[in-house]
Every structure is written in C-alpha cells, then in structure tokens.
Point group: C2
Chain length 590, copies 2
C-alpha cells in the first residue's frame, strides 16, 4: 500500500474515532445496511468521462426514515422543528441550546453513519459553546444574535481556530486553523453553534462528493445515487435533518445541486455579499468567477434567516471584497416592484390590491433536456403562479452553450495547475477529469486570460440587455422579475455520472442570485419515460440522448424534485421576496 | 519620414482643421506664445527612467488669465458660473443650452490653443443637441435630467456613435464608434451636451499626457509643467474653465493627479458604481484592479452632481458589472455617522448638536516625502478641522511600499503584451517605460497572476483590519472617518518627470473612493525650500532625495496645491459628506 493511501486511511480512521461512541447507532440492529468502503485509489475514467460505469456497490435504499425509528421522540421533534420556530424557542429559553445541540449532534452522527457526510465532529466544543449561549441568555435576558443557540454545520472549507482541516486534500493533513474564517466568526457572533463539518469532492470542482481522505458521500434518498456536490456533505446532512442550517459554497452549482438533490431550500447569493475571506478554496486568487457561500436548509425562512443574520454582522468590515449593503427589508417585501417602472408612483396592479409579477420559465437550456419530473415541476409551478394572479412567460435561453463554454475555460485557465500542485503536494493522484478542471486544457498566459474575461464581459452585457428588453413582453412595465429554471437536468443520478452542470453555471457566469426550492418527488405514474425528440447534439458524446436514456421512473421514484428561481444581480433580497411569492402561491413543497 | 509619423501628423492636422475658424483666437495678437510642436518620435529614456532631462522648449507662463482678456465678458461670466448655479439657470431656461454651449466651445478651443488638451471638437453635434435640450424644456416645462443642457467634456476613451476615436493610438485611426459608450448614454440621458474630447498619454498608463498623435498637453498654470494624466486633457481643459464638468478615468491616479495639478475638485469613485461598459481602455479584461470613471470639476457641487446624475440613471441596468446602489442621500448627509457604533441610538456628540468626526492625516507615505507646499496644506487643513470641532489624528501608513510593489506587478502582469500589441498594430514605438507598463517585466501565467491576486487580497484584508482597529484611537466609537492625504508628492513638475504615483495607487489597490480638493497655491514665502532629513531609500535611484531637490519655490510659485480625502469602499456618498465637512470648515480654496 502506497504512503498516501495509508495516510488517507489513517486520517479517516481518526475522524471516525473522534465520534463519541455514545452518539453512534447500531445500524445492524436497526436492520440498515452499512455503507461499503471503496478501495483506494477511487474509480477514474479518463477515456469516457461522460459515461463511466456507475458504481453498483451501494445499497439502493432510502434512509431518510431511519432517524424516526432509532432516535428518541424528543430528538426527532427538535431536529424537525422548522428553523424559525426553533430560533424562537432558543431565543426565549424554552429550548436550551445545549439540548438542541445534543439532538442535532446525535442526528448528525446518524446521518453520517448512513451517508458518510461528515469530515469532523466537534461535540465538546459545540456543547461548551451551547452552554455559553444558554448562560448569556440567562444573564442578559436577550439572545446573542439572530442565530442564538442554533447548531450550524460548515462545509470543509471553513476554518475553526486550532482545528485541523483538510478540504479533502492529503496535503492539508495536519493543517491547523490559525484563526477562524470570517464566516465562522460571523456565525458565532450571530449566536450560532458550530458542531460538524461536512465533506466535499477532491478540488471542489465537481457536483458530486468524493475524495481520497473521506471517500464518497451518498444520497439519503437512494444511496446508490449521488447527493450532489460540491457541498454534498451538507446536502446529505441537512437532507437527513442532521442540521437545521448548513453552509456550502457555489462556483458552478455546488450549493444548488446538493440542495436540489436532497429536497432542500438553498441559495447562491450574488458574489461579494457573504464573506469568503479566510476560507480555504481551490483556485485562490482566481477572481473572474468567484465562489460564493450560501445556505442549505429546509425552508425559505432558513435562507432568509441566514442572509439577515450574516448581513446584520456588517461583514464588509471584516472582508474587504464585500459590497456594503445591509439586508434590504423593503426589497424583500418587493416594495420596489410595487412602483411603476422608473417612477415613484405605485404600479397599477398594486393600486388594485394585486401583486402581479411576471415570471419566465426556462423549460430547457438548449443544451440538455430536463427529465420528465423536472418538466412536470416547471408546469406545476407555472400553473400555481398563474392561479395566484401572476404572469408567466417562456424564457428563451440566450446562447447558454456559449456561456457554458466560456465558464469552462475560466475554470481551466490555469491548465489544471492549481489542482495538480495540490494533489502533488499530498502525493495523491488527481481523481477526475470531469468538470473542466483543466487537466487537459492549455495554461493561459495573463494576456490570454484577459481576452477570456472580455468574452465573459461581452456575454454578460448581451444577457443584461436581453433581460432588460423583456419589459416589452411582460405587461408589467418591468423586465421579467425572475426566471424559474431547472437546477439540473435530472433529480440526481447514480454515482459518478453527474457531469453536466450548465443549468447552474449559467448563473455563476452572470453572477445572478438563485434560490433553490423543493417542488415534490418523482412519482412514476406522473413521470413516465417518454421518447426524446430532437436531442441536442452540440456537446460531444451525445450527452443529451445518453442522459435522457438513463431515466428510469422506478429507479428515480421518491427522489426530490427541485427548481431554482433566478433574480437580478445583487438584488438578493428582492429574489427572496420572489421566492416567497412562489412559496405563498403553493408552488413549493413546503 | 516613416509611415506612422506621417499618419500621426495627418490625423493631428485633421483635428486642427475641424475646429471652426470662428472659434480660434489670434494668440499672437494677444501676445501669448504659441505652443511648440515636438518632433516625432517623442523623447524616450530607457536608461534613466526616473530622471530624464526635462523638456525645456515650453514657455514657463501661466495662461489661466488669458480667457478673461480675449473672450467676451458674457462668455467669461457663463464659463465661470458655478455648476450648481449654471444648472439652475439652464433648468429654468434663464440661460439657453445653446448659448451656454457656444461659450464653452469658445473657451474650450482657446484652452486647447493654449494647452493642446483636445482630441476632437463636435461643434455641430453639440449645438444641435443643445437646441434639443432647449426645445425639450420649452415644450415640456421641465428639464431632461439632472444635467439638463450642460456641456460635458469626455476623455478620449468614451465612444460616440459614428465618431472616430483613437485613444491616442495610431492603430485606432479610422475607428468609428459603433455605438455610444454607456457613460455617454448616461450623460445624454441626464440631459448633458457632449462637445469635446480630451487627450491622454499613450497607453493611459502614465500620470502625464503625451501621445504620438496629439502630442503633449501642458499645464495652464505653467506650460513647462505637466497638467498630470492620464486624464490630463480634462485637467487642462477644466482648469482653464473650458468645461464645467469633465469625465476622466483613474486606475492609478489618472483623475486625481490632473485634478490636483490643475487646482480642481475631482473624484475617484469606488469600482463598479459608474458605468465603464463600452468604453475604450488599455488592459481590457484585466479585472484585478479596475479603472474607474470620475469627474474633474470646479466645486464639490460638481462632483456631487456627477454622482447623483449618473446613479439616477440606474446604470446597473446598462452595465452588468455595476453595484446596484442608488445615490444614498442619507449617507451624504452623514446620518450613519450620527449613530453610536453598532447601534440605532445617536452618538453623544450629535445629541449635543455637534457633528464631531475624526479625520486622520497622512503626512507622508513612507516612500517619498511631499514638498513643503503639500505639507503646509495638510497642516492648514488640520487646523481648520480642529477649529470646526473635529478630531484629527495622524495616519501611520501601513506598508504602502508593499502596496506600491503589488500594484506595479498587477499593471505589468502581461509583460507589456497589451501595450506592445497596441503599438505594433499601429506601427508606432512604445513611448515610455515608466509607470510599470511591463515592457521589461515577465509575462505571468494565469496561475502566477492568481498568486499575485492573493498578495493583493491579503494586503487589502490587513489594511481593512488596520483601519477598523483605529476605533480605539478616535474617541468617536468609530474607526477613522476619512484620511486626508497628498495626491502627489508635489504640485506638478516639469514635463516627463512625473513618474512616482504611490500616493494615488495606494487607494486604487484598496479600492477606496477619494475626493480631491483644492487648498491654495504655492507661495514662496510660505513654502521655502528646506533640507530633507532622512530621505527614504527603499525605491531604486534615490528617488526621494532627487524629487525633493527639484523643488524650487520660485519656479513652483502659483501652482495649485490640492489634497485628497479617502473614504470607505463603496461608501462614496459618505465620502462626499466628509468632503463637504472639510469644505464647510473653510479648509478648501472654494
């Protein structure tokens, strides 16, 4: 066994040993199959990157029902309490943070046993912090902040002072956090309790979750399927109700895909509103398309709470790249949409007591067709919005393939240098050549990367003009308020197959905020397999047809179906207001 | 004569021929020496970039008094009317835009004859547009926008549809604007009248103004001195009152230096508030430190009017990179500084009816010492602010040399490729190797440029923390509100010597907004030459001592002395409020 494999296995064993045995559940006794350990090095297909053989060693079970069987009634009740209610109980002392944290610790460990979602547990630190919160409330009679006493889970990119963190790279074994990442401080300043960190794919540049140290994370809805990624540990953990609020990052879909694949609400905020300063990352210094931090949670309230709590801490005084915009409550209440375009007078619909908005539906992106369940969800949401009095038009995608090409070249502008070096330093091989990590791409010169940035800027300008021009089609006097779109062409898939991400990268290149919301679950009778007419052929390898053919209603049964709503850049609060309109129209699952 | 020289001279002759002869003044009759034409190619010193021989062929005269001798009383009165008053006259029809534009056209042509500041005149287009404004007002009884009828001058980077523009490069002779730059549209939408474009240095990357097509622009205060650059054409034009509002750009001081050298108010806004989309530039696609558009004008009101007018046009609906922040009137009124830090309660000083702020003075940057007149100005401003009830502390620069080094490497990250190609395409030689244009620098790979970005980000973070930590020293409960600093170590200098720009680049790297304001003029009796003790030696070539030794009170006599106030990133309106406090304390010339 080579050195790096031994080192990886030892580190994984160290993680497992750190879990207090009192928190572990005897899965065998509960009749739940344990997860297999894949042997290292993990599967890698260079020749057929778009359709390697799916792994078949994972059980095809849905384990989301396990907690209610093996945890106490009270633990289940606490961990399934809606976040706004939970925060209210914590802020008033009706539930102690210690008790709440114990419940989430137990459920997080169980989620981890079932899905392999965690990289670290911090039971002692968390319970000590929870006691601090309880004591503060008792002494001061008021909560610490908007997240008072709430357990919050962190993706394995966010430093905690004095805690080791690897971000899934061998090279960072032994890497002790010199100080908290700014987001860690912000969460703590707002009263949060950090208790677990969660897994990621090697390099982060993949919408699955799989690395040499911690292995593979699986979907709780079907363990032979991927929970998505790169924030897939969060996806699986929050999907299992092992966390009320998880923090992921998104440079190409890495919050949204795991939110979608685990039936969650999630958000990719606009760049430079949530502090990334002091977090670990791939491609540090790459500023052309930035990764952003966003929440994965069970409700719109969870997303709103996250944004409110972060912005209340004035993070722009801690992270110099941030835009100094406090949470705009008026925008969340859509007050700006209640005015006539370019005027201080109220729009007509509003004077009549209506709140008529215009949404557009992106039925497909012209690159790959969504599976039938996704299309059904789009149809259902459209109907609900119309029933609620809103306008809904079709969104004709504007050259999304061009966008997909540009962002792929931005990701790989260093010819894979960053990832190669990171792997080399730890002695481990590069695992995948999938999501444009640049292993086979040319390393651009600075001048060439400037030319690429110009391609990006030109596309952004054309898209903005295209969006603005819709004001002639909406009947509201405004351009389209929000686009409702797939997050992925499918509702997850078997491991190692989730390689096509144009539905998410589109909005990263344009820096548009997106909120992901759950619509329902795959139901074979409603979502039968049909023939694909006119498959798109622009991508190499017949991807559209191949992805379409993989759909099997029985296999997909019960998998969550999610969509996203896309807003205007930096108008994150308005977008949350739009998401609330969609929720209030009954178009979301909850 | 080589081809490119003939081509450059022909294009310059074309410009001259386009000036209606009725607008030209007979300078000989007025007893004013004409400007010499320097022979091409223009001087270039590779061996001693920091102290080439100054050109000696220019007259050492101050020509700012010429207009009042050769123009009509009414033209002088119109062109010297404060901008707020002028806008009020225009908006109420008491002065027609046509009459106003005629006056500024005449004075701009005169300014050009005296300083060689213009690249294009558009008399027909401007007068036709002015008439459009007048007709609009007559018909609608209200002005077009916040700049109704006002002549506005543009740096030679801003496209006008169907008009040729070169940006001083031979390669762009014959380059016809396909459409307006967004800023041109914004100015027009706000009611402005575009009538002249102004000169720049080759490549824009220099704080002087000198290119092969249009030659050299000189300071109206001493024509053997530079007006600064790269917006030096604007500096000289506005300095001559040939424009009430000029638009420049600033990536390292290019608005601020010519504002300072011509006794003007000027502003470098934060990145991404004023639309750059569709403008010509060097280094297109370089996003690490962006150039920003800012105004050069005669008063604080001119600066505020510019920002209000631009932001009122919702430019973020036209330029996808912009931050969607309307002009924040509360911030301009400093309402946010009237609260206790982190609280909704008013700060103590304000409850007592005072508006106590804390400014810090940057006496020098630890790289190069300011000349005696600059230091005197800092001292005078400090006294005025204290007399007005504010606190003033010393600003200890935080590793400004490190910042100067980083930004120099960012400018030259392409090893000069962009400039080399631009020159090659026009067949002209590269003129200077001065302001880190990278001719002798290595061309970084994309990966290397990412590492450089990390150096920048680390410095930005440290500086933010450093600034925030001053809240323990200010006595206001807040960090320092604004830094008052030199714009340059001197109040201009002889041509070809203005190569040291650390006082301005500092705030570009940190993306801090800056407002430049006039304090007075060099007076030999108040600003005697003294010995420099402890010259800084960190820069090669003994720059500090050499620059200090150049000072000659008699030669500098009458040159404007300006300073800048530096604010918080994206808090441009608060910074304007701080500038108003400085003005209202009597610390500015006007």
């Amino acid at each position: 066994m080579s050195d790096w494999i031994a080192k990886a296995q030892a580190h994984r064993a160290k993680r497992d040993a750190a879990i207090p045995s009192g928190l572990l559940v005897d899965l065998k006794a509960a009749g739940v199959p344990e997860l297999p350990e894949e042997s290292l090095p993990l599967p890698y297909s260079k020749t057929e990157p778009h359709h390697p053989e799916p792994t078949t060693i994972y059980p095809k079970d849905n384990v989301t029902g396990v907690p209610s069987k093996v945890l106490s009634l009270e633990d289940v009740a606490i961990t399934e309490t809606p976040i706004d209610k939970l925060l209210s109980l914590l802020a008033t002392g009706k539930l102690s943070s210690v008790r709440c944290t114990e419940a989430f610790l137990r459920r997080a460990v169980l989620a981890h046993q079932l899905t392999n979602c965690a990289t670290d547990f911090f039971p002692e630190m968390a319970l000590s912090r929870a006691k601090e919160c309880d004591d503060y409330l008792a002494k001061n009679g008021k909560p610490m902040g908007l997240l008072h006493g709430l357990p919050v889970s962190l993706k394995d990119q966010f430093h905690i002072k004095d805690k080791e963190m690897t971000m899934g790279y061998l090279k960072w074994i032994g890497n002790i956090g010199k100080q908290n990442s700014v987001i860690t401080d912000v969460i703590l300043n707002a009263g949060g309790v950090v208790y677990v960190r969660t897994s990621i794919p090697q390099s982060l540049m993949r919408c699955e979750t799989h690395n040499h140290i911690y292995g593979r994370t699986v979907s709780p809805f079907n363990r032979s399927f991927t929970p998505g990624g790169s924030s897939g540990g969060e996806g699986a953990l929050v999907g299992m109700h092992g966390s009320p609020l998880g923090l992921g990052t998104d440079i190409g879909g890495s919050v949204r895909v795991p939110s979608a694949f685990n039936g969650l609400w999630g958000m990719r905020p606009s760049m430079h509103r949530v502090p990334y300063e002091g977090a670990a990352n791939s491609f540090l210094g790459q500023e052309s398309v930035s990764s952003v931090i966003g929440p994965l949670t069970h409700s719109l309230e969870g997303v709103v709470t996250f944004m409110r709590a972060v912005l209340a801490e004035r993070p722009w005084e801690m992270d110099p790249i941030l835009v100094s915009m406090p949470f705009n409550e008026d925008a969340y209440a859509l007050k700006n949409l209640q005015l006539k375009a370019g005027s201080a007078e109220p729009a007509e619909a509003f004077t009549q007591g209506k709140t008529q908005l215009c949404f557009a539906i992106e039925w497909d992106d012209g690159i790959i067709h969504p599976h039938p369940p996704i299309t059904r969800a789009l149809r259902e949401v459209k109907e609900k919005l119309i029933a609620a009095g809103h306008k809904v038009i079709d969104w004709v995608p504007y050259e999304h393939l061009r966008c997909y090409d540009i962002i792929g070249r931005i990701y790989s502008a260093d010819g894979g240098e960053d990832i190669k070096r990171s792997c080399d330093e730890g002695g481990e091989p590069v695992m995948y050549n999938l999501m444009s990590t640049g292993q086979d791409q040319p390393h651009l010169s600075t001048f060439e990367s400037w030319q690429l940035n110009q391609e990006k800027s030109k596309y952004r300008k054309e898209y903005l003009d295209y969006w603005q021009a819709t004001k002639d089609k909406t009947g509201t006097g405004r351009p389209v308020d929000g686009i409702i779109a797939p997050v992925s062409s499918w509702a997850s898939c078997k491991h190692d197959l989730n390689d096509h991400v144009s539905y998410t990268t589109q909005w990263n290149l344009l820096d548009r905020p997106c909120v992901v919301f759950p619509v329902g679950f795959v139901e074979p009778e409603k979502d039968p397999k049909v023939a694909l007419e006119n498959a798109y052929t622009a991508l190499p390898g017949n991807v559209d047809q191949i992805y379409w053919d993989r759909y099997d209603p029985e296999e997909w049964k019960g998998l969550p179906i999610n969509l996203q709503v896309v807003g205007k850049r930096l108008q994150d609060e308005e977008l949350l207001g739009l998401a609330k309109v969609i929720r209030d129209a009954g178009a979301t699952l909850h």
